[in-house]
């Protein structure tokens, strides 16, 4: 039984020693991959094989492996986070592939996400966008007000929560034909704009976050809707529309 669940696959993986060097797609064969293993476990297995062959293992990002940290990435067979919908690469399992499949594994491609090594890209541009305005100024020195003391209507709370589900993985940028970060920024702007605590700094927030987004070299949204479909957290295009409204409002102030 156990052997039946194993598959043999071929891989084409982007290898790049460092940011300043050119990379290329390299072919690998990997046998006896359990269909119960996750995609990252499969890469672990491939790396073990490479180490045994005294070759440099493939560098890739990962952390919680539970689909909530936003650390894993990978453009697998032409799709961000692979063929499944609503999951990150760590939650993608090898049962989604067939015996003998050739799997392309590439890093996120964006000017604002430069490759550091192999499949690892530098997503600190997202951090800088957050630092530009993705916060609320609250005094936390011991006299914090209970969040539940502020009444919020259910619909807004739900929408803010849905926007806050964004884990900042960058799949939206990776899949967008324009390399646009507007779904990410839209989600981050929305999650605060919908809540009373966030309204205080709403004007500067959206202006600063969009300015930072532009400075980082992301492209411009053309409303293809690809990001919404590939987003592992199902962040809606409504958030981009809300950011557009917020920005227009802020610009006219």
């Amino acid at each position: 039984m156990a052997s039946k669940k194993n598959i043999n696959i071929k891989l084409k993986v982007w290898r790049q020693k460092k940011a300043s060097e050119k990379g290329q797609m390299v072919d690998y064969s990997l046998n006896e991959v359990s269909t119960d293993s996750s995609f990252l476990e499969m890469l672990d297995q491939l790396n073990e094989q490479l180490v045994n062959e005294r070759k440099e293992p493939i560098a890739f990002d990962h952390d919680c492996r539970e689909g909530i940290c936003g650390m894993c990435s990978l453009y697998i067979n032409g799709r961000a986070h692979g063929p499944d919908t609503g999951v990150t690469t760590c939650q993608l399992h090898m049962r989604s592939f067939k015996d003998g499949d050739t799997i392309y594994v590439e890093p996120w491609r964006s000017k604002a996400f430069p490759v550091i090594k192999d499949l690892v890209v530098d997503r600190s541009s997202f951090d800088r966008i957050q630092q530009a305005g993705g916060f609320i100024s609250v005094n936390t020195s011991g006299n914090t007000i209970d969040a539940n003391a502020t009444p919020i209507n259910k619909e807004d709370a739900d929408k803010a929560f849905e926007a806050a589900a964004c884990i900042g993985c960058g799949a939206c940028v990776a899949t967008c034909k324009n390399g646009s970060a507007m779904l990410f920024v839209g989600a981050k702007v929305s999650q605060y704009a919908l809540l009373p605590q966030g309204k205080v700094e709403a004007t500067n927030r959206v202006l600063n976050m969009v300015r930072q987004m532009d400075e980082e070299g992301f492209g411009n949204c053309t409303n293809t809707g690809a990001c919404e479909i590939e987003c592992p957290k199902g962040i809606s295009l409504e958030n981009i529309a809300r950011m557009n409204r917020e920005y227009l409002k802020a610009s006219l102030k």
Binding site: R109, A112, K177, G219, N220, N223, L237, I240, A241, N244
Partner: protein
């Protein structure tokens, strides 16, 4: 800060794309209504309409707004397209954009460029002739009197003037002067109707022109299919009316170019 942001930022460029695009949709609807007179009206009605469109001050203002919108929409679009291209210097070895986005949404720049080329040729063929061509024909009718066929210019006061008469001379392309008194007596119509029918019934190139126009309208349809509803999303409208906007946009994108395309087909195939 706020003011400069509204000119330079990514979102500002998108707002301008959306606003100029929607204005051009209004223009299309108006232009179509006028053009349909080529099928449903007669030559005089169409030429009267053409005269109105080139002389009425309010229309003039709208036409300048349209020229500016086309130019701005094109320049802004090209700038955005180059920025978007630059945002991904290295592409994917394997990509599947078909799986998550429509053909039109991914090719707006290419579709728009084709539409722009079409607009340029279209303006050269009709608009430029109407405005600048010294040899623009005037509308004539032939009346048979006592077995003799005589040509007359139709005039804006509803009358007519003999065309080959030494007593009248034409100045400033449309003004009919009394030759002896040297005073303007009447004004003739530029025959845009004839220019249009001759263009699509040209024995040598009429079919090619017709095909080019139909293909251009197909391209326009795809451009509108994404562009119309996309403009509303860009301007921040994404709510319970969005399904309605999308349905209306789809209808607009199919019906308007289709009706436009029927005109050259009608003219070419009814000769």
């Amino acid at each position: 800060m706020a003011k400069s942001a509204l000119l330079k930022s990514s979102l500002a460029k998108k707002y301008w794309m959306a606003l100029t695009g929607l204005f051009l949709c209004l223009f299309l609807a108006g232009h179509l209504a006028g053009n349909l007179q080529l099928i449903f009206g007669d030559a005089l009605k169409f030429n009267q309409y053409a005269l109105f469109m080139t002389s009425n001050p309010a229309v003039k203002l709208l036409s300048y707004l349209t020229y500016i919108s086309i130019i701005f929409h094109a320049i802004d679009g090209i700038m955005l397209a180059f920025q978007n291209k630059a945002a991904r210097p290295i592409g994917y070895a394997m990509n599947n954009p078909k799986g998550n986005s429509s053909f039109a949404s991914r090719n707006m720049a290419v579709l728009g460029t084709v539409v722009l080329v079409f607009i340029a040729t279209h303006m050269m063929n009709f608009w430029a002739k109407m405005h600048f061509d010294e040899k623009m024909p005037l509308q004539k009718i032939t009346i048979e009197m006592q077995g003799m066929k005589n040509d007359f210019y139709l005039t804006t006061d509803g009358g007519y003037v003999p065309a080959n008469d030494q007593n009248y001379i034409i100045k400033n392309r449309t003004e009919i002067y009394d030759a002896t008194a040297n005073v303007k007596v009447k004004e003739a119509y530029k025959d845009l109707h004839k220019i249009t029918f001759d263009f699509f019934r040209d024995p040598q190139y009429g079919l090619a022109f017709t095909i080019f126009y139909v293909i251009s309208m197909l391209v326009l349809a795809f451009h509108l299919l994404h562009g119309f509803q996309s403009a509303f999303q860009t301007l921040g409208v994404n709510n319970k009316f969005t399904p309605l906007i999308k349905a209306f946009g789809t209808g607009f994108a199919i019906i308007v170019p289709l009706l436009f395309a029927i005109i050259p087909l009608y003219i070419h195939f009814t000769k």
